[in-house]
């Protein structure tokens, strides 16, 4: 999101199939003085209510004004910082360079973040996992965020015939097109990234066997 370029038609939000976008309908920073009238002068910011300021707004991202769309940016400030850091050191982004805020906060380490165009990275490997699936993939929206399906009935000898067949189809499918996502991002090679999360909610084939969390 380039917040400063957004004029707020909200068309993107309508079209977002997963409805993750939110809109700044009002000026939620009025308290700290960033308004659209006389209050907008910087000197008044200091005089204004300090409540929000005490929450320590992140200086590395734009504090959104009124009338702009809002979206998770995959912590672009951290991504850019890591990219610049890696550039100074003359190397490529590696696993662990970018820790997104959600990843840092996740108490069960369920989130991985990294460079999906680097086949050796953890996320790329998890994207290639047979358990990996994207939300609403059938719409051809090519999500970069992937989830991992539950692990069920791990012992081969306990698998039902149905499960073995299913697994065979899934594996065949991944063998063909599983690595496609990274290819379109040459220009953004360094920031191509993705997530892989262990998902503990039900996937499509609810009726197959036991469920087990992959911790």
């Amino acid at each position: 999101m380039a917040y400063n370029r957004c004029i707020g038609t909200r068309y993107c939000a309508n079209n977002c199939p997963v409805k993750v976008r939110r809109f700044n309908y009002f000026n939620y920073n009025a308290e700290v003085g960033v308004g659209y009238g006389v209050e907008a002068f910087p000197s008044a910011i200091e005089k204004a209510n300090r409540k929000l300021q005490a929450l320590v707004l992140n200086p590395e991202v734009t504090v959104r004004g009124r009338g702009v769309m809002e979206k998770c940016t995959y912590c672009v400030q951290r991504v850019e910082k890591a990219k610049i850091h890696a550039r100074k050191e003359g190397r490529k982004i590696e696993d662990g360079d970018v820790i997104t805020a959600c990843q840092a906060a996740c108490s069960t380490n369920a989130i991985d973040f990294g460079n999906i165009s680097d086949e050796e990275s953890v996320v790329a490997k998890k994207h290639a996992d047979t358990r990996a699936y994207g939300m609403l993939e059938q719409l051809n929206i090519k999500p970069r965020t992937m989830y991992l399906a539950r692990v069920r009935n791990p012992h081969p000898r306990l698998k039902t015939t149905q499960q073995i067949e299913d697994l065979a189809t899934i594996e065949a499918h991944h063998g063909h097109g599983g690595h496609g996502e990274g290819d379109g991002h040459d220009e953004h090679a360094a920031d191509a990234h993705g997530e892989a999360a262990h998902n503990d909610s039900a996937h499509s084939d609810e009726h197959h066997g036991e469920e087990q969390h992959a911790e």
Partner: protein, 474 residues
Amino acid sequence: MSLAIPNGLDNTVERPGERAPLVLGNTNYHDITESVCQVAERKPSAGWVGGFLVAFALLQMLGLLIVYLIYTGVGVWGNRAPIFWGWPIVNFVFWVGIGHAGTLISAILYLFRQEWRTSINRAAEAMTIFAVACAGTFPGIHVGRAWLAFWLAPYPSLNLWMWPQFRSPLLWDVFAVSTYGTVSLLFWYMGMVPDLATFRDRSKNKYRRMIYGLLCLGWSGSSRHWMRYEKAYAILAALAAPLVLSVHTIVSFDFAVSQVPGWHTTIFPPYFVAGAIFSGFAMVLTLMIPARSMLNLEKLITIRHLENMCKIILATGSLVGLAYGTEFFIAWYGQVPAEQFAFINRAFGPYWWAYWTMVSCNVISPQLFWFKKCRTTPWIIVVVCIFVNIGMWFERFVITITSLSRDYLPSAWAYFSPTWVDWGMLIGSFGLFFTLFLLFCRTLPVINMAEVKSSLAKQHHMAHAAAEHGEAEH
């Protein structure tokens, strides 16, 4: 010089080998001038003054609400995730639809040589302009930062050096609606120039004469001018005809190009255009029927005109009904679960009331026009047309809001409820429309005198020729 048409003749009856007259009464050219000019020249009636005051008050309310909106933020509307487009867009599409009839009557009926258009085209065109003005208001104020809406224009900014995104249907929409507004305005104005010259030449007052003189650009009625004028008019009609079809097509792209279930359908362009013509004609009739009696124009806008328009309403209304059916068929036939759900949800989901209001107003009520009695009785026409207007507003409501409120993920479903600002702006937009329309009635020629005279001349010529023919036979 009068024509031998008895006063009060029923011109809705077709006699073989003979054209029914389009102008009634003992009419000559001067009578036409008189009956049209009296509308603007006499003192305003109490009804006009009252109507204008009400409309103007509503316009003020719209203005104040816009100020409030821009000062506070677009959250004053009922738009909430996931319904990011609410009433403003419903109103926009509704008004754009209304704005189709005028240019359609002027352009397409002109190209098809439908003489009966001459009495109604001016007012219908004016209505088009005013409806487009109402429509243009909404997307302008709908964006979150209205003061930056000029970023949509492809102007060279020395500061940013950024260009708009031509692959987005929203930008097509900007171009379509602004082009449509501009061309309609040119078309309307150009058609009015000879009549403005008539107004000039009848002016008793120096300033009136000066103002109309300026507006009519020194029109003298020279045959050379008329020839180029007619050519230009024909060309503009030929250009406006595809334009009028394209506008609602492109507006429908805003929806059809997206991937919201219920929006993403290829039927939208023709369906929107049919709906637009339908609602536009309904609005023209809603206005014309009271206006013709209040402004004493019954001889010029005859029952035959009304009947013809009713036939078009019947046709387009049935087309719209067909489109509703087709949507359901395609949803079933396409076998996309999300799409199927969207349509079942429309008819039987939480907005069932809106859907069935739409269907009954748009598809069922115009079926009355199969009966000649209904299409020739003005009050029945008005009632049906008001229902059609309501129905067409609900059509846009159903498309925009039911589709958005329930799309792919049930975790992101919601129910829309409008705020008082939504209501105020809908009503205020009618204030804008009627203020402009009432001003138009008082200051500009409401009927295209030159064209009516021209068709009268043709009638006369034909009558003359028939008489001569008859004489020769005897």
